[in-house]
């Protein structure tokens, strides 16, 4: 009987030690948790937005490599840099035939994820004289980069760039896109910096 109690006591002691060790480890991890990092596309490296990078076809590795369905990368229009052009080379396929409104007949986005609407003082008589806002539907966008590559200089002002959506990104230890990206454009940033 006393042997049994001693065993139980020993068991409790060992369990307590293990529990304390785990608690210490957990406490250590919690107090340094603020330094976590997330993935983000560096627009200055990304082929689709980097100046001086010649290419006809957009690099779509962000779409094909991401482990999340429809990719966690999508295009973002930085509105304050956008030219609000009447004929946006990222919205229209500017090589397509011109229709009777004087606009290219085809859109560029394969998923029809960009919305075009006149803003400011709208002049209904002369649509070409208006400013237009190009709003990207994040739910439809799969980050193929076709609009981003057209938006950069000299055709556009480079307001559309590819970015990681943090609501979709699962923050893989090794981002599958980063492993394939030829320019190493996917970088890990401290979470505060990436969300700014």
């Amino acid at each position: 009987m006393s042997g049994l109690t001693r065993r139980a006591l020993l068991g409790t002691a060992v369990r307590g030690t293990v529990l304390a060790t785990m608690g210490g480890g957990a406490a250590f991890l919690v107090q340094k948790a603020h330094g976590q990092v997330v993935w983000q596309v560096d627009a200055a490296r990304c082929i689709n937005s980097r100046l001086g990078e010649a290419g006809v076809e957009a690099c779509n590795l962000c779409t094909t490599e991401c482990v999340v369905a429809l990719s966690a990368v999508r295009a973002v229009n930085e509105y304050s840099k956008c030219g609000r052009c009447n004929i946006c080379p990222a919205y229209f396929n500017i090589t397509s035939a011109v229709d009777d409104l004087g606009l290219p007949s085809e859109k560029l986005c394969p998923r029809d994820a960009i919305e075009r609407k006149p803003i400011g003082k709208v002049d209904p008589e002369d649509p070409a004289n208006n400013f237009y806002e190009y709003i990207i539907d994040e739910v439809k966008c799969d980050g193929c980069g076709k609009c981003a590559i057209k938006c950069k200089e000299p055709l556009g002002l480079g307001s559309i760039v590819l970015k990681v959506r943090y609501d979709k990104c699962v923050n893989c230890n090794r981002c599958a896109i980063s492993e394939k990206c030829p320019k190493d454009a996917l970088q890990q940033l401290p979470v505060g910096q990436a969300l700014r």
Binding site: G11, V14, R15, V18, L19, M22, G25, A26, F28, L29, V30, K32, A33, H34, G35, Q36, V38, A54, G55, V56, V67, V68, A69, V76, N77, Y79, S80, K81, C82, G83, R84, C85, N86, I87, P89, I94, T95, I119, G120, K121, V122, F131, E133, I136, E138, P154, L155, G156, L157, S159, R165, Y166, D167, K168, C169, V170, C172, N173, R174, L195
Partner: protein, 313 residues
């Protein structure tokens, strides 16, 4: 090649002239226009992440209760289906305690690396529970376990020796996982996640060879119960160690049962040895109780259904 590119670019560039040199701002655009904020989808809400952790804790607790107190095969089967749906297919198998072994290792040893609080919680909760009640996480919560548990069709009893030798693989895997997590920089390899055979199913996308591996595990799993859990899962190794210290666990008790051996035959995981449950191998599926004629008779007659608690109290 470059020339061709330039020619094509020029051919495109000539008809299109960019109308502006700089972006027009609010004043130029006029009409009371305000520049909208740039779209910035934030991460999953913090309270939702915490709710996931709470759910994990609750599911593990429920698994303990169903396995040890209620001894309900049906309850555990439903719980594992629920966990598979939520932690597996809805949360897409990420984050999970198995993969977090490596992240925890790196975070503990590397001052420049840290993990979110949620990951810390997900890693430690099942271990703490195992320290008191055994591997309840495996039975009702782990989506990787659940997907294999649901395909168990006609399990064979693997020879004890083979079972034991194959069981050593998980310690090797755990060792490798820690070894590769400790490597610096790009040499660091998160192989548990990389070779997770089922995450492709959960995400409905992935590399073809991983789908093949997952399929192979599921087909094997029809005849050899939960091969990943028993022979490879490195977290199972940790849970096994904690379970050895557990005060309570699943018991196949001599006083209440008949020692007829039906439970041993019903166990697809070879966790009943000499008519007694082997705690470190038991995966809390409760098939033993489901097969027990004592329980079946009691539940049919509806009497004494509360008199089924372990004799170890």
């Amino acid at each position: 090649m470059t020339l061709a590119l330039v020619v094509v670019l020029l051919a495109q560039a000539i008809p299109y002239q960019r109308p502006v040199e700089t972006a027009p701002q609010e004043k130029t655009i006029g009409g009371g226009y305000k520049t909208p904020p740039v779209q910035k989808p934030l991460p999953r809400d913090y309270w939702l992440q915490m709710a996931d952790v709470a759910l994990l804790g609750a599911a593990t607790g429920l698994s303990v209760w169903l396995a040890i107190k209620r001894r309900s095969r049906k309850g555990l089967a439903w719980l594992s289906i629920g966990s598979l749906a939520y932690f597996g297919f809805y949360r897409e198998g990420c984050i999970c305690p198995i993969g977090s072994i490596q992240n925890v290792t790196v975070a503990l040893t590397n001052p420049a690396y840290s993990i979110p609080i949620v990951v810390t919680a997900v890693f430690f909760i099942p271990l703490v529970v195992a320290l008191f009640f055994g591997r309840a996480f495996c039975g009702g919560v782990c989506p990787i376990g659940a997907i294999q548990d649901l395909v168990v069709l006609k399990p064979i009893q693997t020879p004890r020796r083979l079972d034991r030798i194959l069981g050593l693989l998980k310690y090797v895997y755990l060792g490798l996982a820690i070894f590769f997590a400790l490597k610096p920089g790009m040499a660091r390899d998160f192989l548990i996640c990389r070779f997770d055979p089922f995450v492709g199913f959960f995400r409905r996308t992935g590399a073809p060879h991983m789908f093949m591996l997952g399929g192979a595990f599921l087909i094997t799993g029809m005849f050899v119960g939960r091969p990943y859990c028993r022979y490879l899962c490195p977290y199972g190794a940790l849970l096994g160690w904690c379970t050895r210290l557990a005060r309570r666990g699943v018991t196949v008790t001599p006083d209440k049962e008949l020692d007829c051996g039906l439970c041993a035959r019903a166990c697809p995981y070879g966790a009943i040895e000499k008519m007694r449950a082997v705690r470190k191998d038991c995966l809390y599926c409760a098939r033993c109780y489901g097969s027990c004629p004592v329980y079946r008779r009691r539940s049919v007659s509806g009497a004494g259904s509360l008199d089924v608690q372990g004799s170890d109290s």
